[in-house]
Every structure is written in structure tokens, then in C-alpha cells.
């Protein structure tokens, strides 16, 4: 069963991975980081990514409106931000305990495979908290 560091190192083995972090979107704290950070500072990156994640997690526009809307689980599974040279993939963790955590993977656009990374990051997020 992987811990936080093993999970982040596994994410770094994805083609094109530049950096990865486990971040709490309420506080903006990076609970674990590996590789590079855009701008060179994991702490700032975590705080900024947390703002974006919080918007997606809390705003009604992205919430579920059908069955299961009030089950307390994160409504959003993941978010993708693409810029001209890289992708940012944010994957929310669905935990059995109360938490507001997501995995952030920074992926080079040239070598990265967004579709593969999205599937694999989802699997890693589940394994991290479900074993």
C-alpha cells in the first residue's frame, strides 16, 4: 500500500511529469511535494492551486444537481488547466474521513499524455486513501 511520498513518486513516472504535490484546498498547505514547481516554489504553487480547486469544489455551478448531490463526497473529480507549454491536472481525493485534498500533477505538453495521466492519477488517488 502506498504512502504519500510513494504516490507522488509514482505520479512522477508518468511521461512528461515535471512535478507533483498533494495539497489541502482549505488551508493551501502542500502535504507532500516532488519534482519541480512552476516558478520554482512549491509553497506558492500549492496556495494558488488550492484557490482554484476551492472554487471548483464549492461553487454551485460545478456541483451535482441530481441524485447523490448531498452525500458529502467531492462533486468534482478532476480539473485540467492547459497553457501553451504544459498541463496542470488536479485530482480530488474521495476520502472516507473529512478532508479537502487534491493531487496536483504538472505535465510538460510536449511529452505528456493527458488522457493517460488523467486515468492513472485517478487510480493513484484512489489507491492512496483506499489501499
Amino acid at each position: 500500500m502506498p504512502g504519500i511520498d510513494e504516490c507522488l513518486l509514482e505520479a512522477m513516472r508518468l511521461p512528461g511529469a515535471r512535478g507533483a504535490a498533494l495539497v489541502d484546498w482549505t488551508s493551501g498547505l502542500a502535504l507532500g511535494t516532488v519534482g519541480e514547481a512552476p516558478g520554482g516554489d512549491h509553497e506558492t504553487t500549492a496556495a494558488e492551486a488550492a484557490e482554484l480547486a476551492r472554487m471548483a469544489a464549492e461553487h454551485g455551478a460545478f456541483a451535482l444537481h441530481g441524485d447523490g448531490a448531498d452525500d458529502g463526497r467531492p462533486p468534482v473529480e478532476d480539473m485540467i488547466v492547459s497553457n501553451r507549454d504544459s498541463y496542470h491536472l488536479l485530482r480530488f481525493l474521495d476520502t472516507s474521513f473529512d478532508s479537502t485534498v487534491f493531487l496536483h500533477l504538472w505535465l510538460g505538453r510536449e511529452d505528456g499524455n493527458l488522457a493517460l495521466a488523467r486515468i492513472r492519477l485517478g487510480e493513484m488517488a484512489a489507491r492512496l486513501v483506499l489501499g
Binding site: P2, G3, S27, G28, L29, G72, T95, D98, T100, V101
Partner: protein, 264 residues
Amino acid sequence: MTVTHIPPLPVRDKAAGRALSPMLTRLAEERATGVLVREHGVLHLAEGRVVHAESPCSPGLGVLLTAHGTLATAAWQQAAAHTTSPPRAAELLLESGLLPVGALELCHLDALYDAGYFALAPSSTPGRFRYDHTPRPGPLPSVPVVALERETLRRRLLLHRLWPDPAADSAPLIRADPPAPAPLTPRQRAVLDRVDGVRTATGIALDLGRQAFHTLVDVRRLAAAGRLAAAPGAVPDPVPPYPPPVADPDIALLKRLRDALEAL
């Protein structure tokens, strides 16, 4: 009537005052092992790193793990009964394989930063450090002192930006009805549903099995939106101070005294 000139009290240099606890900084530098008892919580240090934190203001690891059924309450109680302290109980759970490693590490770090925030809150009494060989680096992640201090300062600033009045942090909370209420997030609704004129933010956090700092973030946001307030006239819930270790020579003080004498 004679007016005596009272010299101003010495004021600490603001720039030098960045460290939340000078004692803690010194303990980290000397890679100390032991327990730092402060007014609102305790920090367990192993070789100068924080391995565990506890505060009466925040739910502990056991609450976070059992509140939503991640771990059966009986399993936690059993682990706690077989060990001497919560960090040991967590290690026992790790060895037992009852919980996914990632989930346990995550809850452990959540509880550590949460309790650390309160333990490092401004206090009216000096902290006391007990050199002790009990805390040791274990398989669960530890945190450098500077990282905990930096995060605590960042969290204070975050709360201040949301709503600068800390009155609602520790007092019993009451609901308020603004004329045009802004929509609530599901997490805010859970907090507001538990506001009953008696519970404090800490009480709500315990009830929700949620980190106390996370609860404070929503309490400050709800206060800013005019949805809740500190109960009028309520004396802020006095935080039960941690019992200081008794019959224990104050080694930290003696060491400081020795250092000061040697420096003469």
C-alpha cells in the same frame, strides 16, 4: 500627587519576532527530543522535528479517523489501550494494516498541523520543555519546526484576510439573519446547522470530525457573510490549559541560565 516616570516596557524587535516561539527555534537547533507544553497545546519533538501535536482546541487523530467510520471506534480504543500515547497507537494501526497507509499519513499530518496551529497560538504563560526520550522518529511523517511555524503564520494571515475579527473563533456561536443571505457551500451548511448558541467552533469541529482550522475558515467566512456571530456577552470559552508537568526540574530554564552565564 507625584507623577513617577514609568519607563516603557522593552518591546521585542518585530523583525526578530518572526519565530512564533524562540524556545521552539532553539530546541529545533539543538535537535532536542522531548515535549513542549504550551498554553493551548503540546508539541512532541524528536531530534528537533515535530512528530506529534495535541491541543484541546482541535480533534485528535482518533476523532478524525473514527467520526466517519474510516476506522471502527473499538479498533482505535484497542490501539490506544495497547500503547502509551496517540502517536504509538497510530504506529500500531500502521503495522496492523487496518488502514491504508496514505489515509493514515494524511490524517496524521492533518491532526499535527491542526493542533500545531493552536499550540503555537499567542499565550499568556511561557512554554515549558521537558527533555524526554519518549518521542522518537517513527514511520509516520514528521515535520520540521520551521515548516510548522511558517504554516501557522500563513494560516493566521488566511483567517485574518477572510474576516479580521477573531471573536467567533473561541466563543459560543449564534446564528444571524442577514437581509440578503449569500448561498452556502455544503461544508458551510454543515457548520451553520450546528450553531446553537452553545457550541464553539471547536465543539462543531469535534461534532463533524473535521479539522478545527477548517471549521474556523468556514466560521470566519460565515461571520463575514453575516450568517453567524459570537454570542453577545459570552465570555470566550477559556481554553483548558494543559497541565504543566509537575515535580520536574525545569531543565530548559536551567539550560538557558547556564547559556546566559557562560555568555557573560
